[in-house]
């Protein structure tokens, strides 16, 4: 009889989802350090950073499966269960993508052409900011729960998500510029390298895209 009241409370998925997002964003942050190392052609440091990203990504995976197994259908949640799970797997993609970029660059010892370094750095930074904003949005989840996903707090989160969309748009603009610059250089570089450079540019841009979808997923949670 003592158990019936305490057994009523399932473990709230909100905290773990926030922790997961923090790890995913940390992966993106580490990718920045990795890029800097690669600019300096310091492949030992790059290797260590890539390993760290991989470890963090594994951590995110574990956390993801923990949240999933902790969300059986019998659990009654303030928001649809499927939306929460979608949000989680979107966040997880962020960590995955950071790992992809680091893995590919390390594997091929890819060197960014000197003349592109400044632009790539700037471009990465914009993606990083988008990811940071997504983390900020996710950190409002517990406040949203507190207000029952209603009222002022919803407006505040919607505002944050708008800013996030803005940041993502910025990376799209930069991506176009960066591609154009690479196109101009294309003839002077080995063709295979160029192919993969395009791919890396794409994937760094994905970081911002995925961050934006994290915001979009959260918007689904509060839109009723």
């Amino acid at each position: 009889m003592s158990s019936s009241l305490s057994a009523l409370f399932g473990r709230s998925p909100i905290r773990p989802i926030q922790e997961h997002m923090a790890i995913a964003h940390h992966c993106v942050e580490l990718l920045g350090k990795f890029l800097e190392a690669s600019f300096l052609k310091d492949w030992d440091a790059a290797f260590a950073l890539q390993q760290e990203i991989r470890n963090q990504e594994n951590l995110a995976d574990d956390l993801k499966s923990n949240v999933r197994t902790g969300l059986p259908k019998s659990l009654f949640l303030p928001v649809p269960r499927t939306d929460l799970l979608e949000l989680l797997s979107t966040q997880d993609k962020l960590a995955n993508r950071a790992k992809d970029v680091a893995g590919l660059m390390l594997g091929r010892r890819m060197e960014i052409p000197e003349s592109l370094v400044a632009e790539v750095r700037e471009y990465y930074n914009e993606s990083f900011l988008a990811s940071k904003q997504a983390l900020k949005v996710i950190n409002e989840l517990d406040e949203l729960l507190e207000t029952g996903f209603r009222g002022k707090e919803v407006e505040l989160v919607e505002g944050l998500i708008n800013e996030l969309d803005e940041l993502e748009h910025q990376t799209d603009v930069s991506q176009v510029k960066l591609r154009a610059k690479l196109f101009a250089l294309e003839q002077s570089l080995p063709p295979v390298d160029v192919m993969f450079l395009y791919k890396i540019i794409d994937q760094i841009g994905d970081l911002a895209d995925i961050s934006e979808s994290v915001g979009a997923r959260l918007l689904l949670l509060i839109a009723r």
């Binding site: 009889m1 158990s3 019936s4 305490s6 409370f9 209603r150």
Partner: protein, 424 residues
Amino acid sequence: MSDIISQYGTIFLIMACVFGFFMAWGVGANDVANAMGTSVGAKAITIKQAILIAMVFEFAGAYFAGGEVTSTIRSGIIDIEKAGFADSPELLVYGMLSSLLAAGIWLLIASHNGWPVSTTHSIIGAIVGFAVVGISTDAVVWSKVWSIVASWVVSPMCSGIIAFFIFRSVQKLVLETDDPFTNAKKYVPLYIFMVGFIIAMVTLVKGLRYVGLNFSFSQSLGIAVAVGVFAMLLGVLLLRGIKEVAAENEDFHFSSVEKVFGVLMIFTACSMAFAHGSNDVANAIGPLAAVAGVVRSGGEFSEQSGLPFWILLLGGGGIVAGLAMWGYKVIATIGRNITELTPSRGFAAELAAATTVVVASGTGIPVSTTHTLVGAVLGVGLARGIGALNLTVVSRIFLSWVVTLPVGAGISIIFFFLFKAIFS
């Protein structure tokens, strides 16, 4: 036949006291924890404070508002005339003794295994069981039994609906606004007034006649308002010390707001203990009162005999003993497990449950406090207020009923025939 009573009267009385105390001990050890665990989990009060509150308010609840339920259990379920107790009052004594023993044993087994059974269901099952098998089906006032069983469904639903609307009002008035902290300080005293007013009003209108006090409706209204205002002033005094601290709001913006609601939860904890005392103490002392009534009158059963104070003292003492010896552990466990229930939610659940239970007590219907509280928490959950609720508990509770009623009845029947064989 009343020789048996005059011959063994003292033994019966001692047995009833021991069993009643045992039952009350069980209520104190397990049941009270649910009523108090909510406030402890929300960190509104410490375990020591919870035990202190429980001791005072359980007793007050039993004394001021517990008479009606006690009378239902001692003489409302069994039809004294049809059961033929006038000729053989010892059967009632056997039955009540077996019911106490059966319910006590079943609760011990169930709580050992962590099953969500209710004291109320056990004792009702036991009483109905011995009456049907040991005496006859006619001996049971079925209309009363059905209304009690219906209340077991209705009371959680009622408290769920009340909790939903209380929590929605908190959302509207405080949480959704631009300045939740200022609004919390503004509205929390009003909620405290509500707590004091509702509990006092229901008690005054419904319960007090067993203590020998009678107030007119307008007198009751006046006293209830006074109680509410007194509680509110006390609350305002406690609230003065709470300031909005920017640092604690950094990680979670509502930390200061929840502190304000924490004060409110001290009051709802008191009301919860009062409500629990008014309803559940009767499970232990109702049968005891029945036995004592028969023994004292030398076998003549008088329905209207008042409730002696020492019986109440024994029930209250048993609860306090159970709480002090074992209950604090259970409170600690529950408190740790339900941290999800923040003060702004916990108070809504407690106020709804306490109101429902006190109304049931006033009407003389024994309900399960725990199940009522479960209903209230679900109500808050429906207002999207709780991170995750495990709905399998609801089906477990239903299952526990289906098991508790026949098992309680079965054990009680065995003891009934055992006592009959020993004493008659």
